[in-house]
């Protein structure tokens, strides 16, 4: 469960303050599939960084499962990212020259899960996203859609509280984008909370609820 309470992010560069987010409050319940929409420059990336514990808000509170993530130090944030958040990036961000299995195993390695279990779980999730026949392919041997599916498998490997997807279909052909959305909906029905950032209305409509953001503020 996510609770954002009066989140604000102000960047100061050479004495000039730029407001990226202001007075953003919302709640996302467990098991929801929410899309955050907004034009570029609206602050949706900043919001996504804060929700992903990659950045901390200047003021306001961000509570993830009751923990105030906004007040944590670097190592505690790393722990939150590892255990509670599954990232799916627009550019997939797989490690190059590593196999699909190795990529999915990486967050589990940081969590200290035994190697045998890591491998078993990686196989399970890769099969789930339909890559059971591409397990030992290197990431550069996979198509964009396939790479994104590896990223999804990596995102759910630690069974996180939320799956955070930043323009997940931005680099992918539309036919494959539909497949990704199908996987998201499937994961959602299994109980995963999904927060997806996008600027494409036809992708956003797959979500149960859409949060609009513009000029750093939520649009009612």
């Amino acid at each position: 469960m996510i609770r954002a309470d009066k989140l604000a992010k102000i960047y100061t560069n050479g004495g000039v303050a730029t407001v990226a987010l202001e007075d953003v409050s919302f709640t996302i319940a467990d098991g929801e599939f929410v899309a955050i929409m907004g034009p570029s420059g609206s602050g949706k990336s900043t919001l996504m960084h804060i929700l992903g514990a990659l950045d901390t808000p200047t003021s306001g509170d961000y509570l993830l499962d009751g923990q105030n993530v906004g007040k944590m130090n670097q190592d505690a944030l790393a722990e939150v990212r590892n255990k509670k958040i599954g990232f799916i990036f627009q550019a997939y961000n797989l490690l190059p020259r590593r196999t699909a299995v190795q990529n999915v195993m990486l967050p589990m390695a940081y969590a200290g899960i035994p190697k045998q279990e890591r491998r078993e779980r990686a196989l399970k999730y890769l099969t789930m996203v339909g890559l059971g026949d591409r397990l030992d392919h290197f990431s550069n041997q996979l198509s964009g859609g396939q790479q994104q599916r590896v990223a999804i498998a990596r995102g759910i490997a630690m069974n996180p509280s939320i799956l955070l997807a930043d323009e997940p279909t931005g680099n992918i052909a539309s036919a494959q984008a539909e497949e990704i959305m199908t996987i998201f909906k499937e994961l959602n029905t299994q109980g995963h909370t999904i927060v997806m950032i996008t600027h494409e209305p036809d992708i956003a409509q797959h979500a149960q609820r859409i949060i609009h953001i513009k000029d750093g503020r939520l649009v009612a």
Binding site: A78, R81, R97, R154
Partner: protein, 409 residues
């Protein structure tokens, strides 16, 4: 993530760019290689000098003319004329009785001169000796006989050749006994050739021509002093006692009362050995120090490569942090890479240095030595260089903010 897994990750990253990894390591290889080679060769030459001096006899005292100074070796010693054959005979007369620790005494006069045989000639050390010389200096003859007592008495015009001299004058494999050689316009009959002792460097016993001491003094050089008196002590344990006895007797002979006025120097093999190994030791330390500088340069090369690597892999580092890598894990990942680079360089450098040292010592006929301490030192230092020069790049990697790093193109 366990250390073993980090090690695997590091090896994986390093093998991605093999040429760069090899070039980065090269500096450390050369640095460690030269340190190992120099230390090893230094120890070899120290050993060789020690062996040469030991081969002359470990219970040998050498009396040289000239006054005593602290520290042992001096240029002036040997150039003075204060020792005489009479001194040697006085010592010999007391050997075993008044001089209870002295076994035998040999007086020598030596000078370099041209030796001619037929159309061949060579410049060599002419050594005027008594029969005792063969005993004390462990010289034996391969053919013929050595200088005998009656040759000394009769100032016989005879010569015993070292194998090198024999080969130079008469050719390899020819027995020159019975032939004659000319030194200082005096014809000498060859009565023997000594056994090759090997060894090179100063005063090789193979490159000498032995004549009776009286012949050398009166017939060849026209002098009445001796260059050195060699004394064999009864055992290596009584060297100090023997040195004291000989010293007091010679002082009395020279009618001196104060040991500070002594016009001669008594040196044991130990003294000579000490001086010689001190010189080679200092040289080795100096050269190794210079070689160690190249190790530091190699370390800077590693740091440079690691910094480039961190910049290149900014996105990767960002991703790893986003997926939950803590600061400590990132630091370790890059530190381990740096240490693997330098340690591998250290291992290869040690092999290279050992190979160089082995080749050089084979060519220069030195004993090949490679002490475990120097290997341990080289490997330890190369590992530490990895830690020191890898530390800053690793900190830089760990300090990267995941968002900045992920955005980096």
């Amino acid at each position: 993530m366990s250390l073993l897994e980090l090690l695997g990750e590091a090896v994986g990253s390093l093998t991605l760019n093999k040429l760069r990894t090899a070039l980065a390591t090269l500096g450390i290889i050369i640095g460690t290689g030269s340190v190992i080679a120099l230390i090893s060769l230094g120890q070899a030459s120290q050993k060789s000098v020690a062996a040469q001096i030991q081969a002359l006899g470990s219970n040998l005292l050498t009396v040289m003319p000239g006054s005593q100074t602290s520290g042992g070796v001096r240029g002036a010693a040997g150039s003075s004329t204060s020792l005489t054959y009479a001194d040697a005979q006085a010592l010999l007369a007391q050997a075993g009785t008044g001089l209870s620790h002295v076994k035998s005494v040999s007086a020598e006069v030596n000078r370099r001169a041209q030796v001619v045989a037929g159309r061949n000639n060579t410049n060599t050390q002419i050594m005027g000796v008594t029969p005792a010389y063969a005993d004390i200096r462990k010289v034996s003859v391969a053919s013929g006989v050595f200088i005998a007592e009656r040759d000394v008495h009769s100032m016989a015009k005879v010569a015993v050749l070292g194998p090198t001299v024999a080969a130079d004058l008469f050719g390899e494999g020819v027995d020159p006994v019975g032939q004659s050689v000319k030194v200082a316009n005096q014809s000498l009959k060859v009565i023997g050739v000594t056994v090759a002792k090997g060894g090179s460097g100063f005063q090789s016993p193979d490159d000498m021509l032995f004549v009776p001491i009286t012949t050398a003094q009166k017939q060849l050089f026209g002098v009445d002093y001796v260059s050195t008196i060699s004394i064999e002590a009864s055992s290596a344990d009584v060297m100090v006692e023997a040195q004291t006895e000989v010293g007091y007797l010679l002082l009395a002979e020279h009618k001196l009362t104060d040991p500070a006025q002594a016009d001669f120097t008594i040196m044991s093999q130990q003294d000579i050995l000490g001086a010689a190994s001190q010189i080679t030791g200092t040289l080795t330390a100096l050269l190794s120090g210079i070689a160690a500088i190249s190790l530091v340069v190699g370390g800077i090369g590693i740091m440079n490569i690691m910094l480039v690597t961190v910049t290149e892999r900014t996105r990767e580092i960002g991703l790893r942090k986003a997926l939950g890598a803590k600061k400590r894990v990132v630091v370790w990942q890059f530190l381990i890479e740096a240490v693997i680079l330098t340690f591998a360089g250290g291992v290869l450098g040690t092999l290279l240095g050992a190979a160089i040292s082995y080749l050089v010592s084979t060519v220069a006929s030195l004993p090949f030595t490679l002490s475990p301490q120097s290997i341990a030192l080289a490997l330890g230092v190369s590992g530490i260089i990895g830690l020191v020069f890898g530390w800053y790049p690793a900190q830089k990697a760990a300090a990267l903010q995941p968002i900045e790093a992920l955005r980096y193109e």
